[in-house]
C-alpha cells in the first residue's frame, strides 16, 4: 500500500516520503482546522504546526490508522489555538467582514444561478452553525458528517470512548439542526 510505503520511508528519515503523506492528507487536515477555528490564517498556522509535529513524532507511530493519528494531532493543535483565543479574545466572529467568510461549498447538481446562490449562502450558514457548537461536539460532527470517519476513528482522534462520540454526535447534530431552523435554512 502506498501509505504504508510512505510511512516506512519517512520513519527511516526520508523527508520526501513524509511530504508524500502531506500531499495525501493536507486537504483533510486543513479543512478540519478551518472548521474548528473558523479562521483561514489560524487554520494555515495550525495545519503547518500539525505537520511539523507529525514529522517529529513519526517514529512513534506504531501502525494502525494513520489518518486518525494525524487528525488527532491536528485536533490537539486546534484545541490549543482555541484555548489561546479564549485567553486573548479577538472579537466576535460576527465582526469578520465578508472577505474572511469561509467559503463552504455544497455539492449541487445542475442548478440555476438562484439555486447556486442559495447553496453558497446555505454553506456559509452551516459553517456559522458549526462555529456555535462546543468544540468537542463540533469536532465530532465535522469528523463524522464532513470527513466521513467512523465512530471508532473519531474516538481515536478525540481520545475518548465510542459512547462519548455517540453522545457528542447526537447532541451536536441536534444543536446544529436548531440553529438552521432558527435561521430559516432548514426546510422540513
Amino acid at each position: 500500500m502506498e501509505e504504508a510505503r510512505l510511512i516506512r520511508g519517512c520513519q527511516a528519515g526520508d523527508l520526501a516520503h513524509f511530504n508524500g503523506l502531506v500531499e495525501l492528507y493536507q486537504q483533510q487536515v486543513y479543512n478540519l482546522a478551518l472548521r474548528m477555528l473558523h479562521d483561514t490564517e489560524a487554520a494555515e498556522d495550525a495545519t503547518q504546526e500539525a505537520f511539523l509535529l507529525a514529522y517529529r513524532a513519526i517514529k512513534k507511530f506504531r501502525g494502525g490508522n494513520f489518518k486518525a493519528w494525524l487528525l488527532h494531532i491536528t485536533a490537539n493543535v486546534c484545541r490549543d489555538h482555541l484555548r489561546s483565543a479564549r485567553r486573548h479574545p479577538i472579537g466576535s466572529l460576527d465582526d469578520l467582514g465578508p472577505d474572511v467568510q469561509i467559503q463552504t461549498r455544497l455539492t449541487g447538481l445542475s442548478e440555476s444561478p438562484e439555486d447556486y446562490a442559495l447553496r453558497v449562502e446555505l454553506g456559509q450558514v452551516i459553517n456559522s452553525g458549526l462555529a456555535t457548537l462546543p468544540p468537542d461536539q463540533r469536532l465530532a460532527v465535522i469528523l463524522c458528517d464532513i470527513h466521513g470517519l467512523t465512530y471508532e476513528e473519531i474516538a481515536q482522534v478525540a481520545a475518548c470512548s465510542v459512547g462519548t462520540v455517540r453522545s457528542r454526535i447526537s447532541r451536536g447534530r441536534a444543536r446544529l439542526r436548531d440553529y438552521l431552523l432558527r435561521h430559516g435554512e432548514l426546510l422540513p
Partner: protein
C-alpha cells in the same frame, strides 16, 4: 403516568436517532426504533429534521488548500558549522593575542623591551646609573671639587658686607661639568626608550614588529567577534517563531 412513560420512551428513541441514521444499531435496536416511529409523529419529525441536517452536512465539500504544506529541510547544519568556525577562529585569535601579551609582559620573546624594569639586560645601565657614571668620570678627570671649593672659600677675600655672607665661587674654581657628551647622550636616549617601552604610539614613533601583531590580532578578534555576535543574533531573532524546528515549510 402514561404520558411520562411515553416521554421517557421518546427521549430514549431520540437519543438513538443519530445511530439509526448512521446505521450503527443492531437488528433488535433498529426494530425497536422503527416500531416507535410508526406510532410517534413527534419522533418522526425529529428524525426528518436530523436527517435533513445530516444530508446538508454530507454535501459540504472540502475546501482546497491555499498552498502546499510540504516541508523542506532548512539549512541549520550548514549555518551551525559556519557559526562554529567563526567562534573557533575568534577564540584562536583571542588566545594568540593573550599569549603574545603575556609573553611580552614576561619577556619570553627576545629583542622586545619588557614592560617592567627587571627584565633589562644587565649590561644596559639605567638612567640613574648612567648619570652616576658621568659624575664619577667627571670627578676623575677634573679633581675633587669639594676640596677646591673649600680652599677657594678660605682664600676668598672678605666681602664688603662682612663675614658669613654668601659668596659666589671664586673664579677659577672648577665645577662638575654635567654637559652630556654625544656618545653618552645616545646611550641615555636608548636606555630611556627601553625603560619606558617606547615603540608606542606616542610621538608617532614606529611600532615594533610584535606590537604590530598585537594590533592586528586585536583587530581580528574584534571583527570576528562582531560578525559572530551579529550572525548569532540574526539566527535567534529570525528563527524566533521556528525556534527549535529543523524543518521549514517548503
Amino acid at each position: 403516568m402514561f404520558g411520562l412513560s411515553r416521554k421517557t420512551e421518546c427521549d430514549k428513541i431520540r437519543g438513538k436517532l443519530s445511530e439509526y441514521i448512521d446505521k450503527r444499531l443492531d437488528a433488535v435496536q433498529q426494530e425497536r426504533v422503527e416500531a416507535h416511529l410508526r406510532g410517534c409523529q413527534a419522533c418522526r419529525t425529529e428524525l426528518e429534521s436530523l436527517q435533513s441536517t445530516v444530508n446538508l452536512l454530507h454535501r459540504v465539500t472540502l475546501v482546497p488548500v491555499p498552498h502546499s504544506f510540504t516541508l523542506a529541510e532548512a539549512e541549520p547544519a550548514r549555518r551551525r558549522i559556519a557559526l562554529n568556525v567563526l567562534r573557533g577562529a575568534t577564540a584562536f585569535a583571542a588566545l594568540a593575542l593573550t599569549i603574545l601579551l603575556l609573553g611580552d609582559l614576561f619577556s619570553f620573546f627576545g629583542g622586545v623591551a619588557p614592560l617592567g624594569r627587571e627584565a633589562l639586560p644587565a649590561s644596559a645601565p639605567t638612567l640613574a646609573e648612567s648619570r652616576d657614571q658621568q659624575l664619577s668620570a667627571a670627578d676623575e678627570t677634573r679633581g675633587a671639587p669639594t676640596e677646591e671649593i673649600g680652599g677657594a672659600l678660605e682664600k676668598a677675600p672678605t666681602s664688603k658686607y662682612g663675614e658669613g655672607a654668601v659668596q659666589t665661587p671664586a673664579a677659577g674654581v672648577l665645577q662638575p661639568d654635567l654637559t652630556p657628551v654625544p656618545e653618552v647622550a645616545a646611550e641615555e636616549k636608548e636606555a630611556t626608550e627601553r625603560e619606558f617601552g617606547l615603540g608606542s604610539w606616542a610621538g608617532g614613533r614606529i611600532v615594533g614588529p610584535l606590537r604590530g601583531i598585537h594590533v592586528v590580532l586585536l583587530g581580528v578578534v574584534a571583527v570576528l567577534g562582531g560578525i559572530t555576535a551579529f550572525i548569532s543574533r540574526r539566527q535567534r531573532s529570525g528563527a524566533g517563531d521556528r525556534e527549535g524546528r529543523r524543518i521549514k515549510n517548503a
